[in-house]
Symmetry: C2
Subunit: 345 residues, 2 copies
Amino acid sequence: MGEFELLGRIRERLAAAGPRIQLGSGDDAAISVPGGATATSVDALVEGVHFRRGQATLGQIGHKALATALSDLAAMGAEAGEAYIALGVPPDLDEDGCLELLDGMAALAEATGTTLAGGDLSRAAELFLAVTVVGHAPEASALVSRSGASPGDALVLTGEIGAAAAGLRLLEDSTLETLSIDADCRVEHTTAGSTRQSAAKRAAGLVGRQLEPVARLGAGRALARAGATAMIDLSDGLGGDAGHLAASSGVGLRIEAGALPLAPGVEEVAGAIGRDPIELAAGGGEDYELLAAIPAEKLGEATAAVRGTEGIALTRIGEVVAGEGVELRLPGGRLLEPEGFDQLT
Amino acid sequence: MGEFELLGRIRERLAAAGPRIQLGSGDDAAISVPGGATATSVDALVEGVHFRRGQATLGQIGHKALATALSDLAAMGAEAGEAYIALGVPPDLDEDGCLELLDGMAALAEATGTTLAGGDLSRAAELFLAVTVVGHAPEASALVSRSGASPGDALVLTGEIGAAAAGLRLLEDSTLETLSIDADCRVEHTTAGSTRQSAAKRAAGLVGRQLEPVARLGAGRALARAGATAMIDLSDGLGGDAGHLAASSGVGLRIEAGALPLAPGVEEVAGAIGRDPIELAAGGGEDYELLAAIPAEKLGEATAAVRGTEGIALTRIGEVVAGEGVELRLPGGRLLEPEGFDQLT
């Protein structure tokens, strides 16, 4: 099958275009009439760097590529609009494989109201997916950058952290004896004991967050509407991403490590590998939860709105202070050095 | 140097953001206020598939990645707006190499009024550049798709074709004895004879069109304003791309092969490799000239406008007819089978 036939089969599988799209995939360019402000971001996933085909299904890889891109729109408080995909196809990925990958992406696109509006297929030595997403808002001022936090704002976090990092350890370290995970990423429990069973469930949850992350689009819009002054998604890890928000806003952040909402199972995995659970959670990336600054008096409204739209908690984990840098304070008063993140990923 | 420091050095080199950009590179997403219709397209260049580092400088590779993406906007008649770059960085490309690549892209961005508004850097086994471009028009109806050609329209072509295909042969076939091209893609002439010298100049022109293609943005807008009914850029080659325009419009195209404007030097290269020059020009891709259908009575206006904006010719090469498919008629009446293009590229 050649490029054009494959593109035809891909287009057949795409959902109907969203309301802004006047001309979808298949021409020189897609035509859209945004009607307000747009937020645009690009993210690439590369085999061997961001995923391994043995650990994730092709559908999960497609899902993750779109989810990580959409997470940047969530962090702006934008509504998901369109996605444009550049796919590098290695010799050992056949057409059915391409379609499986696109199906994973298309399912998430449909669930999030994203139109897959264009793409490009290339031969490549290794599989890569570069995803550009365009989000929308009525006007630019409705979108939330990283740079508006003020001293006195509360620092809040959606959902729970540490799951993706713990899930990655479970996928990569077969010596984690208490849990065994097969190649299809299903968790098997070798005894029928209830402790073992619930551990298996928690492990599956952790692995799921690593392989199929959730972009907090609803929570991002809720936080933007409630008056968030700055926002970022946790792709690199709380330590690193908090640092970006602090630097962009020209403020310091004081985080109470004891207040961090750790995902169920993170403590067990950290224990099994001899790591501090808070360090694992704060240093590990890919949770794609949102970190936001918001005036303290808006906290109640924001918490209710986030709970209402995604059914997840909003946790106050610290505050914005004058100065610079991020202070992660443990309950005992010790300061934690956030894991650096200064590598190409 | 890590990702963030490199990103900082990249951002220092970018030109000021265009008027639509409210927030440029460096946040979760760029914020733009389009104020009309947008045309959006993504294109990827992959090492070993679309370029070789030995044949092109890093600056030329950056230029070509942006130019090929912008060419899709030219084919819509859109004004260049923003570009978003996903860069896969192999182990043997250092920071200076990344910057050289970006400099090539930034120079073209500045020349075309394109804002480099966002990007993503990843480690990768091989160099790849995925470029998403957003173009603008006052309204969707001002943009030209592939699908509006009607029987009776004139079929026109900007500039000259065959240069990129001939240039590629010169780069790849060292047995083309009449011309020698060194690794830096400068043409050397070994004798001082004027024939040899002008052949060398022509060869340099051909190689230049292969390595640093031009996106016909001005010509595209001129054709759109003059009333083009359908338009496509020649990335795959006239034969293949004419077929796409015909299929999208539900019409046939009759092309007089004798009317095709071949670039200087194409005949010599075709002769040296034993190919028919028209076949080489019509079957070879990457010229990035524009093929358009336009009502015959608008031809004069369009020709003057294209000449006025880019100083290049607009040549009537045939017409739109009822039916389907592309007929390439040689002066003697023989029909030429356009080279197929049914491979992932």
